[in-house]
C-alpha cells in the first residue's frame, strides 16, 4: 500500500492522446521492476520459506541492489502484505445504500469488493493467505494491515452516521467487526461466505 502507486501520478506535458495507457518508459520500467521483485520473492518464499529467504537473495534474483529493493518495498513484509482487497472494501462502503443498517452496509461492501476481484487476483490472494498462514511473523503483520484498513472503515461509518470518528460506538463497532472477521476467517473455504455469516451473527447479538 501507501506510496508506490498513487503518488507517482505526475506526468507533465505531452501525452496528447495517451491517458493511462502510455505512462512513459520510466514508469513502465518501474512497474516491471516492482513486479519482478515480487514474483521472484514469492518464488523464493515458496521454495525456501519466508524467514530463511533474505532480502539480499531477493534483490539478487530480481537483479537489483538491496538498496533498490527497499525503494520499491519499504519492508520485507510489505511484499506479502500488499493487499488489493481492502481499498475496494472501503470504496464500496462509501457507495453503500443509506437505507440499511450499519452492519448490513459493511456486509454488502465486503461482498461487493470480493466480487470485483478477477480469477487471477483471487488466486494470488489465496497464495498470499497460505503464505501468511504458515509464517507467524507474517500473521501479525497482516492483522496489523487489516486493522489499519478497518480503521478506515470506522471512519467511513462515522461519516455515514454523522458521528465523531472516535466516538465510543464507532470504536466498539469497528473493533467488534475486526474481531469477528478475524475470528471467522480460516483459509479453508470461501472468504466472502465466512465474512457474511460472521457479520450476520454479530448483528443478532452473538447468541450462543
Amino acid at each position: 500500500m501507501s506510496s508506490g502507486g498513487a503518488a507517482a501520478r505526475h506526468n507533465r506535458g505531452m501525452s496528447q492522446h495517451a491517458e493511462s495507457a502510455a505512462p512513459g518508459l520510466r514508469e513502465r520500467k518501474k512497474i516491471r521492476t516492482r513486479a519482478t521483485i515480487r514474483v521472484e520473492a514469492m518464488r523464493l518464499f515458496r521454495e525456501n520459506g519466508y524467514s530463511s529467504t533474505t532480502v539480499e537473495q531477493i534483490a539478487e534474483a530480481a537483479e537489483v541492489s538491496p538498496s533498490t529493493f527497499f525503494r520499491y518495498y519499504p519492508t520485507k513484509e510489505a511484499l506479502v502484505l500488499t493487499d488489493d482487497l481492502d481499498p475496494l472494501v472501503v470504496r464500496a462502503l462509501a457507495n453503500a445504500p443509506t437505507g440499511v443498517s450499519a452492519l448490513t452496509a459493511v456486509r454488502m461492501a465486503f461482498v461487493d469488493a470480493l466480487a470485483g476481484l478477477d480469477e487471477r487476483a483471487l488466486l494470488l490472494e489465496r497464495e498470499r493467505q497460505a503464505l501468511v498462514a504458515s509464517e507467524p511473523d507474517l500473521r501479525s503483520a497482516m492483522l496489523d494491515d487489516f486493522r489499519r484498513n478497518l480503521e478506515l472503515i470506522a471512519d467511513a461509518m462515522a461519516v455515514r452516521t454523522g458521528r465523531a470518528a472516535d466516538s465510543f460506538e464507532v470504536r466498539v463497532f469497528a473493533g467488534a467487526v475486526i474481531g469477528a472477521v478475524q475470528g471467522s476467517v480460516d483459509m479453508t473455504s470461501n472468504i466472502a461466505d465466512q465474512v457474511t455469516a460472521a457479520l450476520e451473527y454479530l448483528e443478532q447479538g452473538l447468541p450462543l
Copy 2:
C-alpha cells in the same frame, strides 16, 4: 511471555513448611531482576519513546548485560505485551454462572477480573495500553497477543456451551468480544464501565 514465570516451578526437596512464600534466594533474585528490567524499560519508554530506546540502554539501566536481557524477555516487544489481565478474565469466566447469556457471563467475568486488580496494576495497565496505542510496531505485535487471547476465550466459551473450540460461532464470538473491548478502552475513564457498556452494546447487535 512463555518461559519466565510458570515454567520455573521446580523447587525440589526441602521447603518443609514453605509453600509458595519462600521460593529460594535464586528465584527471588530472578523475579526481582525481571521486574527491574521491566520498570526501567517503561521509564525509558516514557521518557524517550519506545522505538528510540534501545535494548542496550534498557540493559544498562537495569544493570544487566544485553545477553541477560534476552534471557528474561525474548523480544523487546514482550516487555510491553505481558498482560496480567486476560488470564484473570479467563479464570473468572470459568466460574461464571450458567443461567445467564453468554455475553452476560463474559461481562461479569470482566468486571470480576477488573475488581481483582489493585490500583497499581490498573495504572500499569493504562500505561501499557497508551504505549501500545502510540507505537505502530507494538500494535502489530499486540495482535499476536490478541490471537492468543481469542483462543483462550474461545476455549472457555466452548466448554461453557458444549461446542467444539474451533466452531464458527465460538470463534466469531470470541473475536468480536475482544475486538469490542479493545475498541472501547481509552484512558479517560473507568475501564470496567467502558467494558460493560461495550458488551451491552454488542449484545444489542451494534445498532448505529
